[in-house]
């Protein structure tokens, strides 16, 4: 029984970890990340995004390093152990509150921003007559339906949907072959350091969301080996973004890109399907994108809920009350920004905030763990079972 319980609690496989990172990172950003980068760096975005990719790599490295030091514990249990003394475990909980508060605040806001951005795109692109309330409502409702499940079921959900996220790359390659003009990439390397730094920063915001690992890694089967799949996932995402950016610059040129609302969407409109089966691709791409956004939403929301469940020591059957209780709050938050411009500003700020929080939490806690010499006791589930 005990063994079964442990297996159930720690049942996220490495492949699921890969899928989790992938599907969290690919989200709303993929439709509009080009603008920020190109505004700062022009055609040089082609290589600055690769430098920008180093920050999420560092982030995922730090987070994984911290989490694998305490196998089988999510951030709540980890901080309780790490910050509390053996005599007074309560102290750990109190001291961990600022960290957890910052993280959960980010998750809550991020879920709302993602839902709202999603609604804006959908209404702008394919459903002009549908009210925003309905779209965001259905999206949050469906996400909550998934989030009321246990964490490993959320992971399984993302795992199943992972192949779907790879489809668009073929379409992008199709456009790449069909419509790229090489002179759009020029001139390269005419940048000062400030511009490089700005564009690196603006591209690193795209990768916000790695912090969900603070929760999910607590349920891994083999957290010790998780580093490789995580890095691989981030690299895959960087590659995907790089292909998208390169194609967008190649097709539209940097000047045009800065004035586009959703460049990726305009990009797929350019693609011609061989065989004339479908004449325009934006609706199927948006459908796939619904999947991508949905998985992002679900993982972030699930992290928020699981943090609450672990923090307040709730029973498993109370998870759904927490999730359904949080859903209207997210719905309300999603309507906070008054228009798209404000929303995008929120998105940038949210990404920045999330990145800083997740990075500093990992750094601080790792530092404390190193100074106090604390380590988790349990080893991998597979080796102990």
């Amino acid at each position: 029984m005990n063994r079964n319980q442990q297996q159930l609690n720690q049942s996220i496989s490495l492949y699921q970890g890969y899928a989790l990172v992938m599907s969290t990172l690919i989200g709303v950003g993929v439709l509009q990340f080009q603008r920020g980068i190109v505004q700062e760096a022009g055609p040089n975005g082609v290589w600055t995004i690769l430098i920008g990719g180093l920050t999420p790599l560092a982030e995922v490295w730090l987070v994984t390093l911290l989490m694998k030091r305490f196998p089988g514990k999510n951030i709540v249990q980890l901080t309780r152990d790490l910050l509390g003394t053996d005599k007074n475990p309560r102290l750990g909980t109190w001291l961990s509150l600022p960290f957890l508060g910052a993280l959960s605040f980010f998750w809550l806001v991020a879920t709302a921003i993602v839902a709202r951005t999603f609604g804006e795109v959908l209404i702008g692109a394919i459903l002009p007559m549908t009210p925003m309330e309905v779209i965001i409502g259905t999206l949050i409702f469906s996400a909550t339906f998934v989030v009321v499940q246990q964490v490993h079921i959320v992971a399984r959900f993302c795992e199943f949907l992972l192949p779907v996220l790879f489809f668009p790359i073929t379409i992008l390659l199709l456009t790449l072959v069909q419509g790229v003009e090489l002179e759009n990439f020029l001139p390269l390397f005419e940048l000062n350091w400030k511009q490089v730094l700005n564009s690196v920063l603006s591209s690193s915001f795209v990768f916000a969301g790695i912090s969900v690992l603070y929760i999910f890694m607590g349920y891994y089967q083999q957290p010790k080996q998780a580093m490789k799949p995580h890095l691989l996932a981030v690299l895959t995402v960087i590659f995907g973004y790089w292909v998208t950016l390169a194609t967008s610059i190649g097709v539209f040129g940097p000047q045009e890109l800065t004035v586009m609302m959703w460049p990726t969407l305009d990009l797929v409109k350019q693609a011609e399907v061989p065989g004339q089966l479908l004449s325009r691709l934006e609706s199927p791409i948006l459908s796939i994108w619904v999947v991508a956004v949905f998985t992002t939403l679900v993982t972030i929301f699930a992290s928020f809920v699981d943090l609450g469940v672990t923090l307040f020591n709730l029973k498993e059957r109370h998870r759904k009350w927490l999730a359904w209780g949080a859903a209207p709050v997210i719905y309300g938050l999603a309507f906070w920004p008054s228009d798209v411009e404000e929303l995008l500003k929120w998105g940038d700020r949210g990404g920045w905030f999330g990145f800083v929080v997740s990075f500093s939490v990992a750094l601080i806690l790792l530092g404390i763990a190193w100074v106090r010499g604390r380590k988790g006791r349990k080893s991998d589930a597979s080796s102990s079972a």
Binding site: S13, T130, V134, I135, Q149, S279, S283
Partner: protein
């Protein structure tokens, strides 16, 4: 609300509270009359409850008494008493045959044989019970105890059992055995004489294959176990019998391969079978519904099959099989999503063909589930996706249709479903004819009349045909069901609605478990090695290990040395 006097607020807030308190007081202190009424009402209710309780208790006691009477009654030494008891228990049923006779060995003793007419093979009874008992008794030379002689040499039947409890005797009598009592012995004999008219072994109706065995399971449990045993001569094959259904006392057999099936699954199935508390089991569907994991799911979590070879194949994958007397449908548990889209034939045909057929079936699955939905969402939300020539043709076809596409699609889908249902009920050979004629005529007429567009007819036809490409009926039926909510979602939100609908479906599927096995295995959780036998089928030579997600105890299916 500026400068509101705090005193007023307090008064406004407290007044109702005080009023409620006062009311309570009045309720308790008012004149005795109303209080008495209240008490009377309470007492009446209490009386009724008490009466009900008393009645229930009485009923329970009488039932217990009856059971006790039956449970503990031993076989009486007086043969008359035994016979009377059974006749009385069965309420003088007309099909109970009681035959009195004398065994010639000791003419002073009476004996009786009882059996149920129609459930026994009367030839066996005549030849192996009556003839030796009535005639051969004299020929026995060694004088010994009569009862021993009867058991040892007079009753010439393979299945004879001595029983000293009347309840067991009655149970055997009702399941088609003959029972024998002899005067002076407080023991009876149960003689296996089961033999009722049976349907022969025929080709299964629902799961026909081009290549493969033509035998299907029948309604008789013993014939079924024999068919399975004949294909699987493994000493590790285990059969466990249960009687389920308080009144029907249906025999149910659990089959599994010891050393291959996961012990935990076997235990779990056994536990759930024993927990069933129902008065009748007329078909394995009763059991399926009582033991499945999630009743609130449109997806079947236990497979049923009519094919003995299929049962054997599942047993060899480490699953368990539940056979129910009275139905040719065996249950297979645990089941995963993919196995409902696999035909037994896939393993008999060459692997390339099997793979092709499986991909074809996957396409049919998607068409059956999504085609009408996609039609609706394309027509009403995303006309830009349709290539221009087709869009023009479509618009021309739809120009006379007075309804929005959802109404059009719903109408057609519903009429096809009705046709399908009707053609099952229609007698024998005219069923399919009427179905075809109905579909052709109605479809053609509807297009000519301008009620539906020609493309809609194609869509509906394709959908229906595709749902027939599914090898398993109960999985196909769940698709038919899910199509309608998806159509509504498509009509409301276009492709977005469809995707959200599919995501919700997936969320449910991923959560589902069948006896501890994740329903979407081996896709989620992903096991690369087990993908060999899902959407594709690799050659048998490479399927050297059993699927791991059923957690078989013996993984090896083929030893090495199978290389070409």
């Amino acid at each position: 609300m500026p400068n509101l006097d705090p005193g007023i607020t307090r008064r406004v807030f407290f007044a109702p509270c005080i009023w409620v308190l006062l009311e309570f007081k009045v309720c308790f202190l008012r004149e005795r009359g109303s209080l008495t009424v209240v008490v009377m009402c309470m007492r009446k209710g209490w009386q009724r409850r008490k009466n009900l309780k008393k009645q229930q208790q009485l009923e329970r006691r009488s039932r217990e008494k009856l059971n006790q009477k039956l449970d503990e009654a031993p076989v009486f030494p007086e043969v008359k008493k035994n016979a009377d008891f059974i006749v009385e228990l069965l309420g003088d049923s007309t099909d109970l045959i009681t035959r009195w006779f004398t065994i010639q060995y000791t003419p002073d003793r009476r004996a009786v044989v009882m059996f149920i007419d129609g459930m026994v093979d009367s030839k066996t009874i005549d030849e192996s019970i009556f003839r030796p008992l009535m005639l051969k008794g004299e020929e026995i030379r060694v004088k010994e105890d009569l009862w021993k002689i009867i058991y040892e040499s007079l009753v010439q039947s393979g299945e004879v059992k001595k029983v000293n409890q009347l309840k067991e005797m009655v149970g055997s009598l009702l399941s088609g055995d003959a029972i024998l009592f002899v005067d002076g012995y407080s023991e009876g004999a149960v003689i296996g004489t089961k033999g009722w008219p049976q349907r022969g072994v025929e080709e299964p109706r629902a799961e026909s294959v081009v290549r493969g065995s033509r035998e299907g399971l029948t309604e008789t449990l013993r014939v079924n176990t024999a068919m399975i045993r004949r294909r699987l001569r493994d000493p590790d094959l285990r059969l466990k019998d249960y009687k389920i259904g308080k009144r029907t006392q249906t025999s149910v057999t659990l089959l599994y391969l010891e050393g291959i099936a996961d012990e935990a699954v076997v235990k779990e199935v056994e536990r759930r079978l024993l927990e069933i508390n129902i008065d009748s089991v007329l078909e394995s569907g009763y059991i399926e519904e009582m033991i499945e994991d999630d009743t609130w799911s449109p997806f079947p979590q236990i497979q049923n099959t009519e094919r003995p070879d299929s049962v054997v194949a599942h047993l060899l994958e480490g699953k368990v099989c539940i056979l129910t007397d009275g139905t040719p449908h065996a249950l297979i548990a645990p089941a995963v999503f993919t196995q409902f889209y696999i035909s037994p034939e896939d393993y008999f045909d060459r692997f390339m063909i099997a793979t092709f057929l499986r991909l074809l079936r996957a396409a049919a699955f998607l068409i059956a589930l999504l085609l009408p939905t996609l039609y609706i969402s394309f027509v009403s939300f995303h006309p830009e996706m349709i290539p221009p020539p087709l869009a023009i043709a479509l618009a021309a076809g739809r120009s006379t249709v007075p309804f929005p596409s959802i109404v059009e699609a719903m109408m057609m889908e519903l009429s096809v479903e009705i046709l399908r249902e009707a053609s099952i009920r229609l007698p024998g050979p005219i069923g399919p004819t009427i179905g075809i004629v109905g579909a052709l005529v109605i479809g053609e007429a509807a297009v000519t009349a301008g009620v539906v567009s020609p493309l809609m007819v194609i869509v509906v036809g394709l959908t229906t045909i595709s749902s027939y490409a599914n090898p398993s009926y109960n999985a196909a039926i769940s698709l038919r069901l899910l199509r309608f909510p998806l159509m509504i979602l498509g009509a409301l939100f276009g492709l977005y609605g469809v995707v959200v609908g599919l995501l919700l479906m997936l969320a449910h599927l991923v959560k589902l478990r069948s006896f501890g096995v994740p329903y979407m295995a081996p896709f989620a959780p992903l096991r690369w090695k087990d993908l060999k036998d899902t959407l594709i089928r690799v050659p048998w030579r490479w399927m050297d290990r059993r699927p791991t997600f059923f957690r078989p105890e013996d993984h090896q299916r083929e030893e090495g040395g199978n290389s070409p």
